[in-house]
């Protein structure tokens, strides 16, 4: 019977160098080179000494690898009269980032939970107003905020910047959490109420354990947003409390002395490293965080 099977049978043949594959992978290759080339130049330049940079071969790999520029960027580069490098800005940024993230996520998740599951009179209006807040350009609020912070005695202090970041994170984070909690089956919420759990009981013991993925998303949004922020940092702090981005700008745009391209590149890579590392770690967390069979199925 074996020879009875004539004509196409089994899986269709696959050609590796088909037209589709060449187009697909060709495009991907070109796009990745386009985006990775600047990064390559930065890394390479940051590992060269100044004499080598002056030769002008920006694409050439370093002949002599040196970590001097990295050390200098971290602990010796000068901004104005301070010559302790980016390290101060890094720790300032950490001091801003941690409380801002914790506070904004904590408040926004409770907001979202209340707006999704404990509707009160006017809750929809409240939510709409909050969302409108996301569409107003930050720039229009800069000066009013200066006055508010001054009156609160927080102008130029880290606490002031934390407050600003928390408030500005509220619209988008609340929207995020509300929609996520609204997607958790209502029956679960009802069952918990029948079981005698209250507002906080349901939040902490039912909703929170089911919401790791959305907390990771919120964390990524906030960490990248706050870490990369320049505008608020330069306006609401003073030189001693400048976050890393502001300090980076001051190092790179320094007009005195010679332009140390290698130090500038190293400083930029250091500053951009934090969000980059977060992206790499969170990919794994994402997969692990997706909750298993909540209701049926």
């Amino acid at each position: 019977m074996a020879d009875a099977l004539t004509g196409p049978s089994g899986p269709p043949p696959k050609r590796i160098f088909s037209r589709t594959n060449i187009m697909l992978y060709g495009t991907l290759l070109v796009v990745s080179i386009y985006y990775l080339l600047p990064l390559y130049v930065m890394v390479v330049t940051s590992l060269k000494g100044m004499p080598e940079i002056r030769l002008g071969n920006i694409f050439a790999p370093p002949l002599e690898v040196t970590f001097e520029p990295w050390v200098k960027a971290w602990s010796e580069a000068c901004t104005g009269i301070n010559c302790d490098g980016l390290s101060r800005g890094f720790w300032n940024s950490v001091k801003i980032l941690v409380p801002s993230c914790a506070l904004s996520i904590a408040v926004a998740s409770v907001n979202g939970y209340a707006l999704a599951r404990w509707k009160f009179k006017g809750s929809e209006l409240f939510f709409s107003i909050l969302i409108v807040g996301a569409f107003i350009p930050y720039q229009t609020m800069l000066y009013p905020l200066v006055i508010i912070l001054r009156e609160l005695g927080l102008m130029g202090k880290l606490g002031g910047l934390v407050l600003v970041h928390t408030v500005f994170g509220m619209p988008i984070l609340t929207l995020l959490f509300r929609n996520y909690f609204a997607g958790i089956p209502e029956d679960l919420f009802k069952a918990a109420r029948v079981d005698g759990a209250g507002f906080w009981g349901i939040y902490f013991r039912i909703m929170l354990p089911m919401s790791l993925p959305i907390f990771v998303v919120a964390l990524i949004l906030q960490v990248t947003g706050i870490w990369n922020d320049f505008l608020f940092g330069v306006i609401y702090t003073k030189p001693a409390t400048y976050p890393m981005t502001v300090q980076l700008n001051n190092i790179v745009n320094s007009v005195q002395g010679i332009k140390e391209y290698n130090v500038n590149m190293a400083a930029t890579l250091l500053t951009g490293g934090v969000p980059l590392i977060l992206y790499f770690i969170s990919g794994k967390l994402f997969v692990r965080g997706i909750a298993a069979g909540a209701v049926k199925g």
Binding site: P185, D187, K190, D195, A197, G201, A292, G293, A294, K296
Partner: protein, 356 residues
């Protein structure tokens, strides 16, 4: 004392009245089924009894206590949901004890109750598992267990079997009935499945548009439906209906005058009426000869179902269905004589559709 009493209950969402002036008394230990198609307000009523919805007007009493303003957890009710609603991050044991922990019950007592409930439901071997690792039937048992451990007076079921496959549904239905017999609690059960309603209920409340159409034991609902809606809703395949004039104790059906002497009228009636006859009450072949009504019909379609066969035909320009025995050689196009007894029929007013 009644277990649950509902007095003049209103519920409206904005301008939409879902329930209006609803009264219902449920006796101690009764199994009451709220039956209706989707959107009839049966689940809404259950949610009101549970305290998950605030009522717009009226009162609810459970075990003689006015619980209209009480929280769900204070009402002495346990609830089982269609989607099971098990807490996914907790083990079965955690699911069962969650409500008890919220009451700050003593650990020993919690343990005792969990083991007792899991023994009744035969889920002892599953206690350490998470819901994701359970089958549909096992999950539903855990959901029942969660109500069971709380030792409540009234169980509320919101279509608990609707998510299960057909075979499991039949098995669990029997188990639920046995459980009710064993526990003797009052149970209120919402479903759109009339078979569940007929098999489980002590009394059925058929609902439509937020109004209870008929409240009675399954037998009465089946054989003496109070209006055309109930008659049509109960029974599968549903009742055959014919329009005809009733005059001087006789009705014109299929150009034939049929005496209604054997029909149990509430009061004498003259005028147009609906006559309803269930497919299973139609006789066919030689059995049909000495019935009150006789006719010959042409077979349009035959649906064999194993135990019996459903035959579709046309009578007085209306589709007419009747049941014959399973092993039959009736074919499409056959001419067949049918008949039925008047005492098996239901007559309804043509306008109000209320039983005559």
């Amino acid at each position: 004392m009644n277990s649950v009493e509902i007095r003049e209950l209103d519920l409206s969402f904005g301008t939409v009245n879902v329930l209006a002036g609803l009264n219902l008394d449920i006796a101690q230990g009764e199994f009451l089924v709220l039956l209706g198609s989707s959107g009839c307000g049966k689940s809404t009523l259950l949610n009101c009894i549970a305290g998950l919805l605030d009522v717009s007007a009226g009162q609810i009493f459970i075990q003689g206590k006015n619980v209209t303003w009480a929280q769900p957890s204070e009402r002495g009710i346990g609830m089982v949901f269609q989607s099971y609603a098990l807490y996914p991050q907790m083990t079965v044991e955690g699911n069962l004890s969650f409500g008890l922990k919220n009451q700050r019950m003593d650990k020993e007592e919690i343990k005792k109750r969990v083991s007792k409930a899991s023994e009744i439901l035969q889920i002892e071997s599953l206690l350490k598992r998470k819901p994701a690792a359970l089958s549909g039937g096992q999950r539903q048992r855990v959901a029942i267990g969660r109500a069971l451990v709380r030792d409540v007076d009234v169980f509320l079921f919101d279509e608990p079997l609707s998510n299960l496959d057909a075979k499991l549904r039949t098995d669990l239905r029997v188990e639920l009935k046995l459980l009710h017999r064993k526990l003797g609690n009052t149970m209120i059960y919402v479903t759109h499945d009339q078979v569940e309603a007929m098999t489980l209920a002590d009394r059925i409340a058929v609902m439509k548009d937020g109004v209870i159409q008929q409240l009675g034991d399954p037998n009465t609902i089946y054989s003496k439906p109070t209006n055309k809606y109930v008659a049509d809703f109960i029974g599968s395949p549903s009742m055959n209906f014919f329009k005809g004039p009733v005059e001087n104790g006789a009705m014109q059906i299929n150009n034939e005058s049929v005496s209604l002497a054997k029909y149990d009228f509430h009061k004498p009636y003259n005028g147009l009426a609906w006559l309803g006859i269930r497919p299973e009450h139609v006789r066919s072949g030689s059995d049909a000869n000495d019935c009150d009504f006789n006719a010959t019909v042409v077979v349009d379609l035959v649906e064999p179902m194993g135990a019996d066969t459903l035959v579709w035909s046309t009578l007085q320009d209306n589709p007419f269905r009747f049941r014959v025995e399973g092993q039959t050689d009736i074919k499409q196009g056959d001419k067949i004589s049918i008949g039925f007894e008047i005492e098996r029929t239901s007559l309804f007013d043509i306008d109000t559709e209320i039983r005559l």
